[in-house]
Symmetry: C2
DNA sequence: CCAGGATTAGAGGTCAGACCACAAGTATAC
DNA sequence: GTATACTTGTGGTCTGACCTCTAATCCTGG
């Protein structure tokens, strides 16, 4: 019984769609912000059912590569690179991620990011950073506004680092941490000190002093960490969290 | 305004499903490795169509939270935490990630991971690491086998760090780098030196010397980076937006 | 002429049920 | 006793009709 099927037309439609779109992106046919054809039409083009096409698009959307707008169309993501928003959150529920672990990851990544920004930052980055610092000082009385510029500052540092992958990683973690941050900022009374630290970080980056930038960022984040009670708890002991005043000691900042 | 809507029965079915399953995971009803009910039955339970349920499950599968096995069932992921496999790869195509950037991220993360492992590693981790080092020395003549133990060693370091988030990040990057690695290992002639370095790293971790571990890991990775020609290229013009070149060919060693 | 509401066109979202493909276990033939 | 064939359970795909949302357009009253 001869196999009349030399090729493999099945290969899971989902991946077929994913790879097709991936190809369109890689060869430049599709660029960030572009709109893809309507589902019915696109499905006909690819010779598959609309349902399968939707599965594939859903897959891409879940990873943040595509953005679907009901009633309007489906587009290629264009904002700052970021992994699936719910991703970290979901995995947190699954693998028991702790807040302090997220913060620890953030500290490590962002400290290095600051160092890289100091090494590679361009004039434009410096200018943008300076502006955000100014805005922070100008909004010391408005927690909500202050937080916005705080976030912007950190995002700019990411961009200035010149490594979009690390930036995407940080962006993902930060967004997962955002809710908790907003709550604490409200009752934070040391915004002045915070702004001051940002200014120091900015100066270090501008002066192209990687080690200083790294150290200052590390210091700044540890302070924020403490303010939000996200230190690493002492060895696995007690159960529920009450107030803890345990000084947690993490990895020392070592200079290369 | 007669249209008071106390509840919101629509809220996009997809998210309905995602949140439902998320809840089951958070309250412990569903644990890693568990099998969820068959689609037809589950759909009936949730009062939605099978198609919608599948969309939701697809979303979770795309992020690596669920694992689907055709003809068998759908399960909650159980392996080491990892973000969507294709995630980084897709985003790379979209935002023009470069190999050297991935490697840079890896170096930064893994160096710290080594330091953390030195601080927090338990006896069991030390034993497992020792074994992998031994295996590496035993497979110096078999590139393929050597690579396996190399990977295992690094994964163990991640686990020993006690921070599953950082481990997941590294796992994601590493898997994206895997293909290229395999190619170069083949013609690498300095496996002995490599094994030696792993041994040094192991010793530093066991001796609980974070700074040494970090330094050694950093050194080891930079060497690997050089061996694979993934260093950061000299200054070059870069536009932040989506300028299209042809990133098809990266700095990586040519595919044989 | 100019709001501002009603209509309409286009796109994604959902549904239903039939049928296909794959993996395992079970029964049957030898 | 082993190998093949059948049965069952589960995910994968297709069809095509209908629902909902958005935005552009038209139409009406001022």
């Amino acid at each position: 019984m001869p196999r009349m099927k030399p090729e493999e037309p099945n290969t899971h439609r989902t991946m077929h769609v994913v790879n097709h779109i991936r190809g369109l992106i890689e060869n430049g046919t599709l660029q960030p912000g572009d709109k893809i054809p309507p589902e019915r039409e696109f499905a006909r083009t690819l010779k598959i059912s609309r349902a399968s096409l939707r599965t594939g698009i859903g897959y891409l959307a879940a990873m943040g590569v595509m953005k679907i707008r009901h009633g309007v169309g489906t587009f290629v993501a264009d904002g700052p690179p970021e992994f699936g928003k719910a991703s970290l959150s979901l995995m947190g529920a699954l693998h028991g991620f702790q807040s302090w672990q997220m913060f620890e990851a953030r500290i490590i990544l962002e400290s290095h990011l600051a160092a890289l920004a100091a090494e590679r930052g361009k004039e434009e980055h410096h200018a943008a950073l300076a502006e955000e610092v100014a805005e922070m000082f100008a909004t010391l009385d408005s927690p909500a506004d202050y937080l916005i510029h705080d976030l912007l500052f950190h995002r700019l540092v990411s961009q200035a680092s010149g490594n979009p992958i690390l930036a995407a990683l940080i962006e993902t973690i930060t967004s997962a941490l955002y809710d908790k941050r907003r709550k604490t900022v409200e009752r934070s009374t040391d915004r002045r000190e915070s702004a001051e630290m940002h200014r120091e970080i900015y100066k270090a980056i501008r002066a192209r002093k990687p080690l200083d930038a790294r150290k200052l960022m590390d210091q700044h984040l540890r302070m924020a960490q403490a303010a939000q009670g996200m230190e690493r708890p002492a060895e696995r002991r007690g159960s529920a969290a009450g107030q803890r005043h345990k000084p947690a000691r993490l990895t020392a900042v070592a200079s290369d």
